[in-house]
Symmetry: C2
């Protein structure tokens, strides 16, 4: 273990992992602010990733922490149908986290950033009691020139998702219970929780289909996110065939005597894309994005049903 | 005391203080990301403001916390000669902070944002052990079209500051010793620490003077920030006449048997602007910005002197 003894020491560590130069960066790290080249519109988002709130060191490796802190922000840009363009990083580093810890965390973050060609242009660094990572990502519209928003679906639209539902929540449960060993029995669920995939390519495809009306990323469970997704006055009928659910969700629910559909409804941190398109456009969505799975239909009245039964549309509240 | 019981509750609180609509905002708070209109170049910065690292609740009122968290970020844009254009907010809210606390904090932040016509376009909100505020601000170049950077000064340039040096550090000392009562005897120092003024107008003036070569904000003390400001290979001769120092800095130094010039050199969190201009341009700077005070000259060799004596250019390290 090697202690990080100064800010300059940490900044040198960042320099080893994140290149300073990038075609879109006019002035990179090291000044009071960075200067970047922009299109006429940008999307911007910021998510916090805090120890013992969003992750535990007991079963998140340093690399998992670095990866996920950035991934959840990229997912927000993906949900806009945008192309991420760069990011800022605020780090709270407890005394007990050494150079090796941050080397591993930043290497994983840098690898994810490199996949999307994202420069790290600046940020802030402080000591604190627990690890805290604050990421700000900005992005541009894709070739379609448009961003996808919430609230633009209409009654009759097909609701569909890209990505698994409920799997990350199963991962959280088994990690809390068994720690890192859980990966042996629940590899998909653990991966979904530790290493969510930001669905940037899929979001860009959706933005490129003019019929697609709305998109968001499901971070708090479909039950809680659907009301945020739908326009006022609308509801949804959701249909989940158990056969369409991830096997580990089905197996975990069976082990706890719960219906697997509810696990899929109330999961959290899936970072799947939820989107809506008129029925006439749905075949085109399927062709362009074979991974898209219809999960229901938008109804013209508030209220939700799951496989024909009313359900209470509440999920996880960060204040609960 | 009223508990904030849910995220929606907190978001409603934010809505009371921060208008959603703004001419530069295409899509405001409430979606996965905000969409804003941009010029061809933006400056971006992000600073953390963390309880017991950057502030103590013992002597920061909630309003001081809300104000300063945003102000220190605006100072970074000011140091670029930029015009702040909007911001994102990440909040860590401990259980013990109630509605009244955040109402007061957000009211003060909103008042500062309103002074600079800044929309709050989004962010994140979590529970945690200590108050944490992560702000990201972006800005555009002013009418001059240029941003001011560090490292562009040249040997012979006049070094000048806009704002007091050492005063905020005195404020910290007396607040740590006497708590809020310190404001009675040390009003300017306490105000400098709790309510630093982001010198946006002054930065824009400097960016509009073509001869001004470089600018930064002095956040860690001149001694530590000068090496970051000067180009490699350069040094500086600094001259402080005691008569030119803030009276409270002089009085505090006298009370501790220290030279007041050193207090001005090693202070921190002043958020004064430090800039450089060739001697021929200096009169023009004085005319445009009467508050600018020359503090020294850039020398062609590394190393620093203070009133003719060499000094060790170290200041505050956040990891120290």
């Amino acid at each position: 273990m090697t202690r990080l003894t100064s800010e300059d020491d940490f900044l040198a560590l960042l320099d080893r992992h994140f290149p300073r130069a990038h075609p879109g960066v006019i002035l990179g790290r090291g000044d009071d602010a960075a200067v970047v080249a922009c299109p006429d519109r940008l999307c911007l988002t910021k998510d916090l990733f805090i120890e013992d709130v969003h992750f535990r060191r007991a079963y998140f490796s340093p690399a998992d922490v670095g990866y996920k802190a950035l991934a959840v922000n990229l997912s927000d840009v993906a949900a806009m149908g945008g192309r991420p363009a760069g990011f800022l990083l605020g780090l709270v580093c407890p005394e007990g986290t050494d150079r090796e810890y941050w080397d591993a965390a930043m290497a994983a973050m840098a690898a994810l950033a490199a996949r999307f060609d994202l420069p790290l242009v600046g940020g802030d660094l402080v000591r604190g009691d627990k690890i805290g990572i604050s990421v700000t990502v900005w992005g541009a519209a894709g070739p379609s020139g448009r961003f996808l928003t919430r609230g633009s679906a209409a009654a009759g639209d097909v609701l569909f998702v890209v990505g698994a539902l409920g799997l990350a929540r199963v991962g959280l449960s088994v990690l809390e219970k068994d720690g890192p060993d859980a990966a042996g029995s629940w590899p998909a669920a653990v991966a979904a929780h530790l290493r969510p995939e930001p669905r940037v390519a899929e979001g860009l495809v959706l933005a490129g289909l003019p019929g697609v009306a709305a998109c968001m990323d499901v971070s708090d469970g479909l039950a809680r996110d659907l009301p945020r997704f739908l326009p006022p006055g609308c509801g949804a009928d959701i249909f989940f065939a158990p056969a369409g659910l991830p096997p580990e969700v089905t197996a975990h629910a069976a082990g706890h005597g719960r219906p697997p559909e509810k696990a899929a409804m109330f999961g959290g941190e899936d970072y799947a894309l939820l989107a809506a398109a008129p029925p006439a456009v749905w075949p085109e969505v399927r062709r362009a994005l074979p991974a898209a799975r219809a999960v229901g239909v938008v109804t013209p009245k508030p209220g939700f049903t799951l496989n024909g039964q009313p359900f209470d549309a509440r999920g996880f509240d960060h204040f609960g």
